[in-house]
Amino acid sequence: MWKKRLKIFLINAEQILVSILVLVPVVWIIMSSFNKGKNLSTASFIPKEFTLSNYVDLFTENEFGHWFVNSLSIATLNAFVSVALILLTAWVLSRFKFKGKKTGLLTLLVLSMFPSFLSMTAVYTLFVVLELVNKPIALVILYAAGAIPYNVWLVKGYIDGIPSSLDEAAYIDGSSKFNTFRKIIVPISKPIIVYCAVSQFMMPWMDYIVPNLVLSGNKNKTVAVGLYSMISTDQDANFTQFAAGAVVVAIPITIMYLIFQKFLVQGIVAGASKE
């Protein structure tokens, strides 16, 4: 009997310990954001004086409002554009036979293996020529194109799993190709579409490399570049404001992740096994 009790105790103690270790940095950053004073060294775990001034300063002293709107618009646009392109491409590659299909699929596979900023310098030069530097649309173009190779494979795998007898029945009933796509393929593919949309929406929030390269000027920054710039030069001096910014960004995204976790898990598994 005592053996079983010990087991229960140890197992639960371990999980409580891990939970605490997980929570400590999270609670610490939230608490820091309510600290009066700006410094990392003086910020205490339990604020001596609660204040919301960091949150206010974030929008008044810094351009955080602009950063947030930039990120939000880039992310939203990116989610729509990427999903439309990915879905159409995957559908055509899954359902139609044509010359060059195998070559195309293998090309996509090879492309998805290149580290994304392999091509930074060329992209930058190209954007200079096309006068896209410092325009948020440049990021959407880059993200959407970059998302195609990997995600098309993913979504194609999913559509392959939808029995083609369903489309054939629709065709017999006189439905056009696009109607069949809209009324049959899209609704059934909802889980994988949600995965693509959510992951493409999340990505611009946290991507640092591309916006840092393409966008300049304090107002044009995205949240990721802005937050990093707050602590990269002088880690001590802007800390509590950074904490407030981190909390403001993290809360909506974390909630979104938790809501869509089922789809995200499915998507990751499907991406790894591609079956």
């Binding site: 079983k4 229960i8 999270v26 055509v92 194109a145 938790l258 591609k274």
Partner: protein, 449 residues
Amino acid sequence: MNKRNRIISMISSILIWGSGQFFVCKQRIKGLILFLLQLIFVGIELFSGYWLEALSGQIKHFTIRLHGGFFTKGIWGFITLGTKEGGRNGDHSTMLMITGIITILVLIVVLGIYIYNIRDAYKMGKLLDETGHCLSTKEYFKSVYAKFFAYVILIPIVIFITFVVIMPIIFAIFTAFTNYNSNHLPPGNLVRWVGFDNFKKLFEIPIWSSTFFSVLRWTVIWAVLATFSTYSLGMFQAILLNSKYTKCKTLYRGIMILPWAIPQLISLLVFRNFLNGQFGPVSKFLMDIGLTDHRIAFLSDPFIAKVTILIVNLWLSFPMFMIMIQGILSNIDKSIYEAAEIDGGGSVKIFFHITLPLVLRSTAPLIVMNLAGNFNGFGTIYFLTNGGPVNTNYQFAGDTDILISWIYKLTLDQRLYDMAAVMNIMIFILIAAVSIWNFRRTQAFKEVE
């Protein structure tokens, strides 16, 4: 058998696009379209350059650099990378290279259409020889409508990807064979082709090769340890969560899932402050409780920084594996365990003989993907330590730099685009070898075959 029509049709289409289709096979519209395409391509070359002026003798000293058309100038630019150095009237080498690559890509398309035109003329002529009559344009397009539909949707997407993804990759690969670096920056200077010099430099100049192999070694160690540690802890927590002795499963799971849900960049920047050696709360706390009498340089001591990175990564990534493995565990048939218990297997034995093999088999692709991800795990390294502390024995790299963060520094801080490109190619070879090996075993690949 009469082969007359197919030969006449083919030869005339070799000379003038679509003429075989137009005159021999009576496909008027198709022939005209092909002819029009030829006109457009020739027209682009003639009118984007100064060919007409040159032919009519208005230009005394004709050079491709100044008077060539889109195609000739593009090829010239790609081969020479410019001949006039510096200033506003000089050549911009990288721009020339990019237009050169675009020209070559367009030329490939032109060549494709040309070959299609010849083959089609031959095929239609053959049909005429064998059956005595030929398809009308309308019948022809009807017969290819199904394929045509796929192309209509895909062609814009292919063009899009070609410009934004493929062209830059080709550019990056070619950069490895030039001297494009801080000493040769267009528009002020010209860039030259240097063949395999950069690769030789990487393997023959000691500081480059020693940095490369040291960074590569840490990259591999990091990727393996990071994947292995997060996988093990993830599995451990998943098993505990599934245990019948665990109270409040949902609460534990809800908390432990947080690092997965919180955006990684935020977590990393928070840890960067949390573990800051000078001002951070952790080292202050350790001093306060008397564990150490001086500040600990979590992120700036070569060895401690590596350990810290691995531990932070553990915090960040174990939940993903925990969620995945928990899902697999709850799908394992309970009767297997009951049978094993009846046979007298202890819980350790059951784990190694039943649970572990089952979980490993279904998570193998995830492990490989995670390995590749960590290999290129720019964020974890860069946002925690910036690759630092700086190692003076290394060429522009710090002790915790992995290949990808080193490349980033070479590109953005040092502007050694040529060496960065060489490193990129090395990474790609490594990653591609592993990924293709992994992918060949999966179902999707067999279907493509």
